[in-house]
Assembly symmetry: C2
Homo-oligomer: 697 residues x 2
């Protein structure tokens, strides 16, 4: 009952509770805004109901997985040999379920309010102009961002407190918390994949038939898929991203705790990352308050100032905590390294995906010679972007290690993500502004409204690049920390354990691991294609059946399109989800711990590269299209523009579905492997049995 332990933990829990209280206030502020326009209200209700229906059905489908895995963790805990192992036992199973619920909650609340904030942003833009619209959209995003951070941190601090209270041991909560991380990862994977397939299918369906075949503009109410398209933005970019970042945030902290545990550091090193996150979450709240307090004419400035303030506060706190609490100033450099590296990786992403730089311009230029050269140029840009990203990551790993060893590397990931509250607020505001524009279009609001929402949306796209940088960077560092923990965990049982390349199990494991992200991406991309085809057929059928739809005299059946996207995406998310869960288990049973370690390394390397490649290629194609639409190389409607649309279509499933899922895939596999360790060291892998058989020949 050391006050040195209780007080910091209570402070962290308290900061999470304060944050969630503020979420509650914001939630009501946004919902209370009246919708003065009937048509806007009607459209908003369509989108809101469609999105919530999807999420409820998605969660219903995931429940059996959660209960199954939870039961398995609990049952395994009764095997004597496995007791006290990371993430196994009924305590871990409870944490697992809490993690799954909290991750789901963050997505749910964020999306609930986002699908209300969208219409309110449109009307505020009409009534109050830029500053009112910005405030409303940003408040919606902040509900998501602060929920992600608040739920993530509250669960961690609460579990830590309770387990410490019961056991009196400062280390045992860490072992149980692995279950919490697994719960977050499981939800994140399904939410990202399901939401991603939904949004891409609806988008492709709406664009291909609506824009290209029928020749009606985007967000036109005559397009039956247009509501589904707006729903998709919410289930993908709000709920999917929310669950995704909850797991990134929680994963980074828990990997840091695990690392501290395995390297035998003091309890202060366990609490240090939690304290940093406590400061980070409060800094995020302060930033949100500042953005809301003023009337901003320039949204870009507002968001940048918010991010800088939060970052600055964390830097100050990191210095103070490292010196005053930890007594070792060097660790503050690890946190700062993480923050700087996250921003640097985000800047690299901007360099390759913003139309202010030459890469995007070169794609636009190559579109002049046709679809093929547009695609080749985009693939080239995506591939090329890996080198600077890896340079930033490598430098971050080196610096973090110089200052803090393996623990320092994990601490850098915490540094990247401790301000997740504000980065996700900024990220989440984008789709709300996008949706607001769609609603303004469909409801026939004045042209100025669309101009304001377009400006908000454009700013959101730029700032989102930095968010992506934090995501990819932290995923790499977190997975590395988990893999190192995996090796250390095996060494606890088998001190001579080694992942050596002379071992063919390791070789095979590395190859299998490297292949998985490709197979996973292929499955997800195929799913998008199939779901999109169903949508295309439905839209075509509606146009054919009732020609009055295209004349604007008859209302299309929006719900059928929503239903198709919902069913298809839920159906399609199962197979890749199972692949991610079962492969580490299968590899471990066949190739043993060394083979599994090899698989994790191969998987990490391959997943990170594909994630960077797909995210940046997709972003570059998107902005090359927008650059042409801005009047370059022939502008809208030209052949160059058509070629650029092809690139955008190809890029969407890469950057919105397959790419972001890579991060989760590798973290989920690492955590499952870490939990599997005590099982693996007890069992003889199939490989050894076969080798014995051959030796007996």
């Amino acid at each position: 009952m050391e006050p040195n332990i209780y007080i910091p933990l209570l402070l962290v829990a308290f900061s999470a509770v304060i944050t969630l209280c503020y979420v509650f206030v914001l939630f009501h502020k946004v919902s209370r805004l009246k919708l003065a326009d009937k048509r806007v209200e009607e459209i908003q209700t369509y989108i809101h109901d469609g999105a919530m229906t999807f999420l409820v059905r998605e969660y219903k489908l995931i429940i059996p997985f959660v209960l199954g895995v939870g039961a398995l963790l609990a049952v395994l805990g009764f095997i004597p040999a496995l007791q006290g192992a990371e993430g196994i036992g009924w305590q871990a199973a409870i944490c697992f379920v809490i993690g799954a619920c909290f991750s789901a909650c963050a997505g749910w609340i964020g999306m609930f309010i986002a699908t209300k904030a969208n219409a309110r942003t449109a009307l505020k833009a009409k009534e109050e102009g830029m500053s009112g619209a910005l405030r409303t959209a940003f408040s919606g995003g902040a509900v998501l961002g602060l929920s992600v951070a608040g739920f993530g941190l509250l669960g961690l601090a609460a579990i830590y407190l309770v387990v410490y209270f019961i056991t009196g041991d400062v280390n045992s909560p860490v072992q149980i918390l692995t279950g919490y991380s697994l719960g977050c990862s499981l939800i994140a994977l399904f939410a990202r994949v399901g939401g991603g397939i939904y949004t891409n299918a609806a988008d492709v369906g709406a664009d291909l038939v609506g824009k290209l075949e029928a020749g009606i503009p985007e967000d036109d109410p005559r397009n039956p898929a247009t509501i589904a398209d707006n729903v998709g933005d919410n289930v993908g970019d709000i709920a999917g991203m929310g669950s995704d970042l909850t797991e990134s945030y929680v994963g980074s902290i828990i990997s840091c705790l695990t690392m501290a545990l395995f390297t035998g550091l003091s309890f202060k090193h366990l609490l240090f990352p939690l304290l940093i996150c406590g400061v980070g979450i409060l800094a995020s709240v302060i930033s949100v308050l500042i953005v809301r307090a003023r009337n901003w004419a320039d949204p870009h400035k507002a968001l940048n100032i918010a991010t800088y303030i939060a970052t600055g506060l964390v830097v100050v706190a990191a210095v103070a905590l490292a010196i005053l609490y930890l007594g070792e100033y060097k660790y503050m450099f690890c946190v700062i390294t993480g923050l700087v590296a996250g921003i640097a990786i985000g800047f690299v992403a901007e360099l390759y995906t913003s139309d202010e730089y030459k890469s995007v311009k070169s794609i636009a230029k190559e579109s002049e010679t046709g679809h093929g050269t547009n695609i080749i140029a985009g693939l080239g840009v995506g591939m090329r972007s890996t080198w600077l990203t890896i340079a930033c990551l490598g430098a971050a790993i080196a610096l973090a290690y110089f200052f803090g060893g393996s623990y320092g590397i994990a601490l850098a990931a915490v540094g990247m993500l401790c301000t997740v509250g504000i980065t996700v607020s900024v990220d989440g505001y984008g789709p709300i502004a996008d949706n607001a524009g769609g609603i303004a279009e469909m409801a026939g609001l004045p042209h100025e409204v669309r101009q304001i929402t377009d400006k908000l949306d454009a700013v959101g796209n730029t700032t989102a690049a930095i968010g992506k940088g934090f995501c990819i960077g932290s995923a790499t560092l977190t997975s590395l920390a988990f893999i190192v923990s995996f090796i250390e965990a095996v060494k606890k049982f088998v001190p001579t354990f080694d992942i050596s390349l002379s071992d063919p199990c390791v070789l095979i494991g590395v190859l299998v691991g490297a292949m998985l992200p490709y197979l996973f991406s292929a499955m997800v991309i195929g799913s998008v294609g199939r779901a999109a085809n169903k949508m295309v057929e439905e839209v075509r059928a509606q146009f054919e059946k009732d020609p009055a739809i295209l004349e604007g005299k008859s209302v299309p059946d929006y719900n059928r399109c929503i239903d198709i996207s919902t069913k298809a995406s839920l159906h399609e998310m199962i197979a890749p989800g199972l692949l991610a869960i079962l492969t580490p288990i299968g590899t471990g049973l066949v190739l043993g711990a060394a083979g599994l370690g090899g698989m994790l390394i191969g998987g990490l390397v391959s997943a990170i590269m594909l994630a960077v490649f797909m995210a940046n290629a997709g972003g570059a194609w998107d902005n090359a299209k927008k650059y042409i639409e801005g009047g370059h190389f022939g502008g809208k409607g030209s052949d160059t523009h058509k070629a650029a649309i092809t690139g955008d279509t190809v890029g969407d499933p890469l950057k919105d579905t397959a790419g972001p899922a890579m991060d989760i895939l590798i973290k989920l596999m690492s955590v499952i492997s870490l939990i599997l360790v005590p099982v693996l060291v007890e069992l003889t892998p199939l490989w050894d049995i076969i080798v014995k058989f051959f030796a007996g020949l």
Copy 2:
């Protein structure tokens, strides 16, 4: 002066000499054929001269690299600490230059005859029909295939004999032969990249302006880039592939010798792979003789029978040699595993790239909804194809290891490539038939000629898939063997050496290695784009300047197009070449041996995945286009066809330039690393200096 050593070596050398004699005979048989058609002769001369000019200029450009690296190897040998190390010293430098020359020779001779066989095939098709055309085209391919095997094996056996004669030590030739392998790799990299850029640039230039803008058919003499396009097939698919496979072949044998040396096996294990290759080369000659001896109506049957006979002979010989010479029957299973795995990987490639299976059909179907869906489907097929390929490779590694340990894995690679003589003959015959079709078109030969050459070309495409399987499979196993040798070589100096993931140098190395294939691919793809743009501008300019060209009244300036492709590709091949050479050196100096080992592993994994992905995606797009041209989904000229052409355009640089270069990239980096070992263990890496500096703070 053990007869047990001399006799086998002399037999191997003798079989290589016999093969080269037969190459000489075939060479004259093909050149002696008279060209009875003036127009055909004129076109053939254009192509021949263009191709030879390119090769001479390419080799001239490479000479400084060869001399520079050779001098470096020789100079390093005078440092006392580095004496007796793998691939260092003036002896190794000589071997290096021999390797470079032999690899270049194989490409040169193959291409010299291929650019003569093309026109002769066209005329034979006119005079004698299918069987005559097949015999001529196949003889041209056989000159390439048997040169590759003959030069590769002769150099090996001769160096082995000479060094053994001088030193009397059976092990020392192996250390020097590493230089020979490096020489082959260096030429292969430049030849593949330079040739690949040439052929893609000419192809895109000819297609974009000729087919799409001017609306003239392929191989139309009015197109100024049409000769350059035909030259490109030769410098890319003949000279490039020839050098590439010489290095694969030599690399697999030398990695096997190195492995035998490091695992402390007997001299018989050193000679066993050489003997297998001796049998393989003779089996290839026999197969070629059989194809030439009969009049075949069905080219597919002819090529299959040739491959089966060679494979069967090698299997019998492997059994006999393992039992009678080696006295350990288990090693025959390693050779057979390699052969079967190569065929299996080739079959997987066919499964995903032949229009008889659903993958290609699905791409064709997705082309109905446009360019974007065509691309997405192709990317998906390429990514999905990795899993079965890796399954075959994993099974091969497992089986080879069960039977023969690490040496067994390297032996499997030798098994895959020992019949390289016949597989390259079959591969090389494709571009000759393709060229023959182009010449027939340009010279206005009867329609039946084109039908025959088209049929020959189609068969070549199918059989080439198996060749690619051998290439990718053997590259993986060879690189693995080199990396394991690298680790063992370091252990000779530093017995505690370990590539541990807790070491941040290894982490950074793995990430850098995984990034390299992406950066390399991006550079190559960018080069193709730039070179193609120059070609597009030139063709447009010629059409504009002289409208009589399109009317067929004026002859376009073919030479200007050839010159542009030549200059651009030679200029563009330097940067990626330097990247491949300098990165392992830089990584070693900064991160040390462990970091370099990590880089090799990351690079291997990433390169293999990209190679499989790019090869199969490209092949699938190509055949989806052909499938539509065969009258499906609207056939030629439909919108579906246009979308499929986009996929083909995108696939070309992936499958012909970047993809095949991956194999060479990773082998070249592995060999350079192996040679660097004694330098690395002597120097303190920059990393350690920095760590010391921080520790002193």
